[in-house]
Symmetry: C2
Subunit: 210 residues, 2 copies
Amino acid sequence: MSWKSGGRGPRGYHHGDLREDLVRAALELIKEKGPGGFTFADAARWAGVSPAAPYRHYRDRDELLGDVAKRGFGLFAGRLREAWGDGKPNTGEAFRRLGKAYLDFARNEPSYYAAMFESGVSIAGDPELREMADRSFQQLRDAAEVLVAKMPAQGRPPALMVALHIWSMTHGIASLFARADAARRPLPMSAEDLLEAQMLIYLKGLGVDA
Amino acid sequence: MSWKSGGRGPRGYHHGDLREDLVRAALELIKEKGPGGFTFADAARWAGVSPAAPYRHYRDRDELLGDVAKRGFGLFAGRLREAWGDGKPNTGEAFRRLGKAYLDFARNEPSYYAAMFESGVSIAGDPELREMADRSFQQLRDAAEVLVAKMPAQGRPPALMVALHIWSMTHGIASLFARADAARRPLPMSAEDLLEAQMLIYLKGLGVDA
DNA sequence: TGTACATCAGTGAACGCGCGTTCACTGATGTAC
DNA sequence: TGTACATCAGTGAACGCGCGTTCACTGATGTAC
């Protein structure tokens, strides 16, 4: 119930920052009813604007959703980079932070997460979106590179594969157990503990001790 | 474009098996436009029946979707059980089949998969649905139990945790790389190979050789 | 075997509603001179 | 500093459409006797 986020007083004919507010509206509405659970008109209403206004900024609902996903990937990449912290003070610790950041993102930014991974937006269809998504993955890839470099030279696994493994185990736990909506499965431990144990076993299997 | 699946000739006043046909309709429509991408009326139209007819079988669209998810979990549990094959001829081989069955299901039954994991149906809300979902997981749990029993008695990990690890890594790969729709991420190898490598590393980390 | 009746599973017409989208418009803002 | 004009970002009314849902109905099937 906000047609002026923050209540900056009655607005005039122009909204000022409708594009941003439509994104906020989408995030709020996704949180309430899932991606796909709101309409273009809903977003306009949420922003306190006529149903024709959003057309000045987005071609249609999908474009709005795509923008949300794009921003989500940007935010996500930043969070991962920050968590990785250049691999300091040691690789194991940095990996723990990286995993935690992934789970935190799924939990605390469910709307972005849904737009990014569960809204049906086609990453392949939008080059800009794809680039933002790749940037997130690049963060995992960098971490894997550092990890692999620490291993004895003989029998090093490809860093790309390791990155994909880390991604999929983290994504699996996030999607099943760290989501914020009704589809979350019950779990007899914290998602963080489950992930950390899995990561340790995996790293042990690789032959590195974290 | 089928109002009589299989073309069994013109039907009379009664449809015969509308409930089944509505499920078929839902599967078809989910495949085309995603869960959430079709309406109750669409399903009726697909089944060649008046828009009021579905109400004889389902309270609303959500109940139909829930039924699809329920059937999906039943089918899924069967596929996993079959793949596991009582752990024969050896645990490693059976695990490989189990993983492959999971990925195959995601790929070949995208509609069921979407209804089960990405439609927003609340498993907690429907006891029957929950029981079917639990049955699928039980299959993974049984497999983990066998695996753990093969390990030396000292320092055995909890079978439940191992089952959850297997589930999340498989689910992560399935959701990211083995899906059949536009949200699939590109992968420079087969999802099966990626999973098998990960499984081997994980098992090595546990201290069992498959 | 026939008949009466109950039940089931459909029909089709109707309704109110909200959505997506277009349109000519208009108020506010920026810019040239 | 003032004025004329172009551009931008909104309005609000309108439209056709399809959805969800209800309703009295009716054809088909099953069952009691």
